[in-house]
Subunit: 393 residues, 2 copies
Amino acid sequence: MMKKIALLGCTGSVGRSTLDVIREHSDLFQAVAMAAGENLEEFVLQIMEFQPALVSMKTADLAQELKARLTGNRGSYEFRMPEIVYGEQGLISVAVHPDADIVLTAVVGVQGLKPTLAAVQAGKDIALANKETLVAAGHLVQQAAGRSGSSILPVDSEHSAIFQCLNGKRTSDVSRLILTSSGGPFRTKSRQELARVTAEDALKHPTWSMGAKITIDSATLMNKGLEVIEAHWLFDVPFTQIDVLVHPQSIVHSLVEFLDGSLIAQLGTTDMRLPIQYALSYPNRLPTERSRLNLAEVGTLTFQEPDMVRFPCLSLCYQAGSAGGTAPVVINAANEVANALFLAGKLPFLGIEKVLDQVLDRHQMATAPDLDEVLASDEWARRTAFELAAELD
Amino acid sequence: MMKKIALLGCTGSVGRSTLDVIREHSDLFQAVAMAAGENLEEFVLQIMEFQPALVSMKTADLAQELKARLTGNRGSYEFRMPEIVYGEQGLISVAVHPDADIVLTAVVGVQGLKPTLAAVQAGKDIALANKETLVAAGHLVQQAAGRSGSSILPVDSEHSAIFQCLNGKRTSDVSRLILTSSGGPFRTKSRQELARVTAEDALKHPTWSMGAKITIDSATLMNKGLEVIEAHWLFDVPFTQIDVLVHPQSIVHSLVEFLDGSLIAQLGTTDMRLPIQYALSYPNRLPTERSRLNLAEVGTLTFQEPDMVRFPCLSLCYQAGSAGGTAPVVINAANEVANALFLAGKLPFLGIEKVLDQVLDRHQMATAPDLDEVLASDEWARRTAFELAAELD
């Protein structure tokens, strides 16, 4: 049976890979609703190819221009003009499209929260590549999923790995989740060196091809910290039982330790299409002609403890996650600001951790916040992060 | 509920580890019937501690002496004298003991076949540490298990790993089983060096503490070849989809590749008590205080292709397994003889592969043999192996 997909974030790295998977299995998957941000050129081509019923872009102007381009591009072949919407409401319309069975949310940042929540409330399954949604409001998403019966299926390679390792196992037998981390592009740098690194240095990250925001988060280990919080909400495991293990080759995508000491790991190539496809095909697996992992060719895998002294963002995430309430949304929002300022050359690398630390420090935490409180905390943290960054500049 | 265990091969390496597990979980496991070979001293102590209802030793003389020792050792505390039997019939009586829920077969060699088959026919679950049983007569054991409803649970660390990786997964999604191998004590030796190695050299094998027979099999990679055949019967996967991967650290105990390219692996310390406990506690896992695997401490894992030119026994096992019929029982029997002759200093190391190759070469294979044909082929192969070895000597 054809599985119908709403895709949020079509022109990003995960969005493109998702369309690859849909293209490869066009007998099984169909994109019925698609949202992109500002990349008009690419989105036009994607829409011409996949012919969704509903599309959305970031602004009214972009939506207008998209309409003109699609009208102009209409060739001799049968092309059905999609409904075109825009903005936050447009993103939500795509997420709750009545034909969609599953929503793959690959937008970046906390903007994914409202559409994901709406989709969950509408009973859609979620293939979640937007970790900020669970970081900001994991309790609200899981409550809503509990009520509607939605499944939240991980797309991040680490969480997909844990999901695959747990499949068929009793979660009561789990003693520890172990998220692997490449260690980021600055894994071997001293604090003195870290004080001087630039965004360009980080963007050379060799192992995974990712967007700019996540590449910087990978450099600070903030990405791993957010993943720890995401894992907590996805798998209902306390923070004391979630560890991070640095593994520069990124072949072992994560592991689960069981209470008898046995470890189950998932391994694979560093190809995002694998976890994306698994989330879409779950509980089935689909054959693929893509290249296989050959461990004899890889030869060597190495592992080491993460260094939370050189990379304190990771330990700040453990603190915020354990504190709960609005602390995670606040550290995430502060990070979105600090990350963007570092990318823009307006904050030194070590300024990111300072901003996060001080925003957390000043935050008046609310426990069990509702959506309005979550969004208000997000706002407050962004404002405060900007102010603090300006002082540091 | 107490699980009642019949244990064949109490005083070997796996037998002792099994008794450790029973001792550690004496609220869950009870040894109701126990068989040993010739190690009277140790068996007396085991019987005094575990107080099984039925015990067996190799010969009538040993059984007689055991009775005298147990009578003499009876102290002031409540000790219930077990029924004492012996020989092949004794082994079978232990295996089909009416109180036993599960039979752990840890005897070495094809002598495990008859008792295991008898236990399967009696509807007992089998925790199988005796790989020769499935190598010699996998088709008969699986047929009998299909009829009686017995589960065959692997105890070998590699097969336990695959069993754990597959648990909850659909076997139709499996594309490949990958058995890891330490590479044995002679992994880095050239053919010239292999021509001169002795049994003493092999018995220094550092990673696992094993019996002498299996240590030599590990040195020839024959052990891995027998495991390939065992895996074929345990998991119903064709030989073309079973690979061997050399992994000297023996941390990754084996892997399963799925048809989407994802690999699931099981990792752990090199402690046989883990797979033994899993087979006994399955489908549950039991907590343990034993030391955990710390991958950051291990640091490095390496992998390479096995070298079937330097270690042709592995490739002979693939040949025999693929040929099927009586070929596997023949290569196993020839190996039992050649292995023992090498241990006794009566055959050079490279003589083992020569004997195996020539026995296979001379064998008139029967397809779908019944038990008598299996045992006749075993007999023939032993005789022929002795003759060939004498010619080589």
